[in-house]
């Protein structure tokens, strides 16, 4: 089995000065260290591999991923009105803007903006009437209220961030414009979000 007599002294260099013994010992030690480190490394890789499925189990599951897109009927939204729908558990604002609001949004100089972006980059060409945004304040995740604030866009009640009629951040602590979700017009009456 194992050599018990050597066990007591195995970690110490021999007391006598015979060079060959010390050399042998060092050689043994470095071999043993290589074996030890190889074993540790293998065990470490194994442990990480074993952990991965557990960590992945906390990612969105397949049924959650399957709910990744919704279709919305927009035919009943009047000019100036806003509709809220849920997409991936988040509120989506679908705003049918008035000509005045579109005008206000287009007039703004990029240099005035904290997160510079043209209004035309935030709507679909030819469908400027429709502004679709994720209704979550980019500060700390509250839901802003429509038609309020100095810029007549959205106002976040939590910390006073103010957005304009293109849902761009104009004032307050939020760093970014309201996010635009991926969406497309299936026809004049329906959009598909996601």
């Amino acid at each position: 089995m194992f050599d018990l007599k050597n066990n007591q002294n195995s970690n110490q260099t021999p007391k006598n000065n015979e060079d060959y013994k010390i050399k042998d010992n060092l050689k043994d030690e470095s071999r043993r260290n290589l074996l030890k480190n190889t074993a540790y490394a293998t065990a470490g890789v194994g442990a990480v591999c074993a952990l991965l499925p557990f960590i992945d189990s906390m990612n969105p599951s397949k049924d959650v991923q399957a709910l990744a897109s919704v279709e919305v009927d927009i035919s009943n939204i009047k000019v100036g009105e806003e509709k809220k729908v849920m997409w991936r558990g988040k509120p989506i604002f679908i705003k049918r803007r008035t000509p005045q609001e579109i005008d206000d949004a287009k007039k703004v100089e990029l240099s005035e903006l904290k997160d510079p972006q043209n209004d035309s980059d935030r709507v679909k060409a030819g469908k400027e009437e429709w502004l679709v945004t994720i209704g979550i304040c980019t500060h700390l995740g509250c839901v802003p209220i429509g038609g309020q604030g100095e810029y007549k866009g959205w106002f976040c009640p939590c910390h006073g961030s103010q957005y304009d009629t293109s849902a761009r951040i104009r004032k307050g602590p939020a760093p970014k414009n309201l996010e635009i979700p991926p969406y497309e017009f299936l026809n004049d009456k329906t959009i598909k979000i996601g």
């Binding site: 018990l4 499925p53 189990s57």
Partner: protein, 436 residues
């Protein structure tokens, strides 16, 4: 450590359990708060919290008998099973819904939709069986080598409490998927308490939180199933504390007499435990990846239906011997008492076994009764899953009687007649007989 530690023992040949403790503590005397780890951070921490000294004492300085066989692997294997169950259970609990309307579906959701959910659930279900394999092996080891005898009574009791808590936890866990076996298992087991005279009925209603097994029952079982493993961890720490105070028993059963009888845990038993883990995980993996449902019951994939009892209702395999005892007795209260008594009896084992010789290896007649006991126990399990009719009933009555007779008659009386084989002088000598 205790006061035993203060005076050096001059006993060379411990005869009584108390002397054994004194000798063990004097061998174990060099345990102190200084550490061999040289890094500055380790030193800084240890001066404030002696955790590194504790680890070093346990792993490097604590004396273990050098003749331990592979039967001594099952404690650490049971330990790793507990860790696996807690970890996999934690991740399952993130997806499971403890409500009668959603429980079954949420388990199927785990199996089909959650990333690697099938793997985690099968780890948990097969892991429960593996845990019991380890526990039973660990207990059979103790029964054969007399590990429950003085001075290790408290160590043994802590072990029985772990066994009981684990059975309770496993039972409640089996209810959670809310399949047919879950529901009817829960109904049968909770109804055991209705056998208690006068207050039985109220106790059962209290357990249920209603007039049958229903949503309140499921909800509390989930909470308790989550809580109890952590209680088990607590008792395991007590179990280990007792182990480090009395030292391990060994295959010869003779007490440790000097340093020569011992080796440190690390590296000898860390390596040996790894070998045990490797073999154990092969068996675990075999079931996990090839037969994950072999140890369960197919009826549990049918959603719970309070109107229809399955034709043949059986508990999980690890409860079968005790279930057989329950059914062997033709009286409601009697059956329940005999079943619980079969485990309660284990608490008295240190006093029932009168033999001065610990290890079964030196008790030729005991050994035969012991093997018969093991075969009898397995047979009880087989009877537990057979239908309760005809000759099965008579067989289970006979096996139940032998189970009790082993503890109540054979262990107390046998030592009066038995001529034991001479013991080796020391662990060192036993080791040399075996390995040199």
């Amino acid at each position: 450590m205790s006061t035993n530690n203060d005076h050096k023992s001059h006993i060379n040949d411990p005869k009584t359990p108390n002397e054994e403790l004194q000798v063990f503590h004097s061998i174990h005397n060099d345990i102190d708060q200084s550490i061999t780890e040289k890094s500055k951070i380790a030193g800084w921490i240890n001066d404030r919290l002696p955790i590194i000294a504790t680890l070093e004492n346990t792993l490097k300085k604590h004396p273990y008998p050098k003749n331990l066989s592979y039967w001594w692997n099952f404690g650490s294997i049971a330990g790793i099973c507990l860790v696996i169950q807690i970890l996999s259970g934690l991740f399952l609990a993130m997806h499971y819904v403890p409500n009668t309307k959603h429980a079954f579906d949420s388990v199927e959701h785990i199996m089909r939709d959650v990333n690697y959910g099938w793997l985690i659930r099968y780890i948990h279900a097969v892991g429960a069986s593996m845990f019991f394999v380890a526990l039973y092996a660990h207990m059979i080891r103790s029964l054969y080598y007399g590990s429950y005898k003085a001075p290790r009574e408290v160590l043994w009791w802590a072990g029985i409490i772990i066994f009981l808590l684990t059975m309770a936890t496993a039972f409640m866990g089996y209810v959670l998927p809310w399949g047919q076996m879950s529901f009817w298992g829960a109904t049968v087991i909770t109804n055991l308490f209705s056998a208690i005279p006068v207050i039985g009925e109220s106790i059962v209603q209290w357990l249920w939180g209603g007039y049958s097994v229903d949503n309140p029952t499921l909800n509390r079982f989930f909470v308790l199933h989550f809580l109890m493993p952590f209680l088990i961890v607590g008792i395991v720490l007590i179990h280990l504390m007792a182990l480090h105070t009395t030292g391990s028993n060994n295959p010869s059963g003779v007490p440790m007499k000097s340093k020569k009888d011992s080796i440190p845990f690390h590296p000898y038993f860390t390596i040996k435990d790894m070998v045990g883990f490797a073999v154990f995980f092969l068996v675990f993996g075999y079931f996990l990846f090839f037969y994950p449902n072999a140890l369960g019951h197919p009826d549990n994939y049918i959603p719970a239906n309070p109107l229809v009892t399955p034709a043949h209702i059986v508990p999980e395999w690890y409860f079968l011997p005790f279930y057989a005892i329950l059914r062997a007795v033709p009286d409601k209260l009697g059956g329940v008492l005999m079943m619980f008594g079969a485990i309660i009896l284990l608490f008295f084992l240190p006093y029932l076994d009168r033999s001065k010789v610990r290890s079964g290896a030196y008790r030729p007649i005991f050994r035969k009764f012991f093997y018969l006991f093991v075969i009898n126990f397995v047979f009880l399990g087989w009877l537990g899953k057979s239908p309760a009719e005809g000759w099965y009933i008579w067989a289970s009555r006979l096996t139940t009687m032998y189970y009790y007779a082993y503890f109540l008659l054979i262990l107390p009386i046998l030592p009066r007649f038995e001529k034991t084989i001479p013991l080796p002088d020391s662990i060192d000598e036993h080791f040399k007989q075996k390995h040199v």
